[in-house]
């Protein structure tokens, strides 16, 4: 064995030990010590979705105002249950009093929720309910069925009795939010699954590119589609791209859901006829209030608090409350 190898290993080890002790000195010099502030955890589905970014920013501000510390975590992708479970474990170890969570897998997260509650931690869901919904200490979120229903009602009024050929750009099989919005839309439009006016139903994963492809396929099979429902705004923008390429935008009513700033802007530009706005800021504010209240007094929140839906359009229809896109631009999120 070459001699230099042993020598270099020794020097490296020594160097590293020096670095460790320095790191220790520096950090203890900071005097971080123990932190007596109330700790609250926030776990969202992904790092990148604007709705969750808005929630996180809102919660950070609320925590700062209350003199509390907010620990945040997300899954690595939408549907990452294991990542959310790990995050909950770490937050429990860090000593949080309450956890706000947007569950990625509504069923699989429940055992972890139970475990946290057993340790005296309040777990509150934001945006998405668990299954069963009463597994958490309260839910602050959009009524997704209602969100679908209002855009359905709008579409019904807009078509004004004309025969419809409908395409739905849905989320993904077996995902509750997507199913609720889809069913709400049908109810609002006044039809049932299997109705002959429903000519094309596609899954888009809520993704812009996939929605373009899906819409292209629908138009290929049914060039006379005149009403498009989209699960969210990225899917709406994707569908619009396909409609525009086919020269169908003037003859088609397109309705979306979310209320993100790009979606409100698309509505102002006439790409969407309407979008149903949900309110993540409100979800996070109410959720943080409840969490802080529990941490201070031990009063557990419970039940479902609807954070509301608002129809945004510059082309209002009679008998349906709506706000224009100027109002929408002030209230929108992710801008």
């Amino acid at each position: 064995m070459p001699k230099t190898r042993g020598w270099s290993r020794l020097t490296r080890t020594i160097t590293v030990l020096i670095v460790i002790s320095l790191a220790g000195l520096v950090t203890s010099g900071c005097g971080s010590g123990s932190d007596d502030r109330i700790k609250i955890g926030l776990i969202t589905k992904t790092e990148t979705n604007p709705i969750f970014i808005e929630m996180k920013d809102t919660a950070l501000i609320a925590a700062e105002e209350a003199g509390a510390q907010l620990l945040t975590a997300t899954g690595e992708f939408d549907g990452d249950n294991e990542g959310q479970v790990s995050a909950m474990e770490n937050m429990i170890a860090a000593g949080v009093k309450a956890i706000l969570i947007t569950p990625s897998d509504t069923k699989a997260i429940v055992p972890s929720v139970k475990r946290a509650q057993k340790l005296g931690i309040a777990v509150i869901s934001l945006d998405t309910p668990t299954e069963p919904a009463d597994a958490t200490d309260g839910l602050y979120g959009t009524d997704n069925f209602r969100a679908g229903e209002v855009v359905g009602e709008y579409a019904k009024a807009k078509l004004d009795g004309k025969p419809a050929k409908i395409a739905t750009m849905d989320l993904a099989p077996g995902v509750t939010v997507g199913q609720l919005r889809h069913d709400g839309f049908l109810k609002g439009f006044g039809i049932k699954e299997g109705d002959e006016q429903l000519v094309c139903e596609e899954y888009t994963q809520g993704d812009q590119t996939k929605a373009t492809t899906a819409m292209e396929n629908c138009l290929q099979a049914h060039p006379d589609i005149n009403l498009v429902y989209t699960i969210n705004e990225p899917a709406g923008l994707g569908a619009h791209t396909a409609l525009k390429a086919a020269g169908r935008t003037d003859k088609t009513t397109l309705v979306a859901i979310d209320g993100g700033c790009p979606g409100v802007e698309a509505t102002a530009q006439g790409k969407f006829d309407t979008t149903a706005m949900q309110f993540p800021v409100k979800m996070a504010e109410l959720g943080m209030d409840a969490a802080l209240e529990y941490a201070r007094t031990g009063d557990r929140p419970s039940g479902y608090t609807d954070t509301g839906v608002e129809l945004i359009t510059d082309d209002p229809v009679e008998g349906l409350d709506s706000k224009d896109t100027d109002w929408g631009a002030k209230q929108c999120w992710g801008g």
Partner: protein, 335 residues
């Protein structure tokens, strides 16, 4: 020395020169060990409650699945290959075992064995394509990633499988150690690492793995049946991924078709952080264990400090680049 005096380059196996301890520790584990100690020292001063038996048990529990995957990945990388399909194969294995146990009513033990066997079959298929048709492992496993991913979603019908029998989740149970709770799964992972460390250091199979990875042609010329050996490496790794599938079911309590999406690259990250060369033939499984623990400690530590999640990814990325840099400098110096 077992090398022949033919045209084989002199980089051929020199394992007989190494001392037992050196082979056992792999020589390249000092760096990762120091990095782990630095990380622990850092987070102990920065986050409350970090330095505790409880946190140690938690980190161990959280890295159980990825650790087991990384163990199999190490075997393949030591053979100068790479496996991009580990996460997808594990996901398929976990769906097979849960679906067989829940829907087909197969006795749980048989369902587990079937799931592990399916993963073994994937390993066998990868190995055959690499050795018989001589395709590059990168391409073979990239293809297999898609095959396993698709089969997972077809077979599961995109639905999470709940109501899994207790036998499949038994490894997720914990036992007390002091005031901490250690899961049987983490124990199994440690046992597997120890077993493979011994096998690689003390058996002909292990020695041939290093030799093949170091110099395929040279090893072949010494009379070792390298293709058959490589085939067995892929099979063994596949079976290890099957065990990871069981551990994943035990951890989440469900059969979840969405798991495994980030594990392919995470397992490679752990191997690299553990000081195993991506060019094969140099490294050790215990290094991989340290690599996995580094990622786990950093992730838990940052979460317990309340650092925003995106920084965990940033830090992990920097660590990987540092690890490879040190590895390169070290090798250049000792050449």
């Amino acid at each position: 020395m077992t090398t022949t005096s033919t045209t084989a380059p002199p980089a051929a196996p020199v394992l007989t020169e190494q001392t037992w301890t050196r082979r056992f520790l792999g020589g390249s584990t000092t760096g990762p060990l120091c990095a782990l100690l630095i990380a622990i020292a850092f987070f102990s001063t920065m986050a409350d409650n970090f330095l505790s038996l409880n946190t140690a048990a938690l980190v161990l529990q959280q890295v159980t699945v990825i650790g087991t995957l990384a163990l199999g990945q190490t075997l393949i990388i030591l053979s100068a290959g790479i496996d991009l399909s580990v996460g997808a194969v594990m996901a398929f294995g976990s769906i097979v075992m849960t679906k067989l146990a829940v829907d087909s009513g197969l006795p749980p033990v048989l369902a587990i064995l079937a799931g592990i066997a399916v993963c073994g079959l994937f390993g066998l298929a990868n190995g055959m394509l690499v050795t018989k048709i001589k395709l590059p492992p990168f391409i073979v496993t990239l293809g297999m990633l898609n095959v396993a991913y698709a089969l997972t979603h077809i077979y599961s019908n995109e639905a999470t499988i709940t109501g899994v029998p207790a036998t499949l989740t038994a490894l997720g149970e914990t036992f007390p150690v002091g005031d901490a709770r250690v899961s049987y799964g983490s124990l199994l992972m440690l046992v597997l690492f120890a077993a493979f460390a011994v096998v690689l250091a003390n058996t002909a199979w292990g020695r041939r793995l290093y030799a093949t990875g170091n110099n395929f042609e040279g090893t072949r010329l010494t009379g070792v049946p390298v293709r058959r050996h490589l085939q067995s490496v892929y099979l063994v790794a596949g079976l290890v991924f099957g065990v990871a599938a069981l551990l994943m079911v035990a951890r989440t309590g469900v059969g979840d078709p969405k798991v495994g999406q980030t594990e392919n690259l995470e397992s490679i990250t752990a191997v690299v952080l553990g000081g195993t060369s991506l060019f094969g033939g140099r490294g050790a499984v215990l290094g991989t264990l340290l690599g996995v623990l580094i990622v786990g400690v950093v992730r838990s530590g940052l979460q317990m400090m309340g650092v925003l999640p995106i920084y965990q990814i940033l830090v992990t990325g920097i660590l990987v680049i540092l690890a490879v840099t040190f590895d390169q400098l070290y090798r250049r110096r000792n050449r």
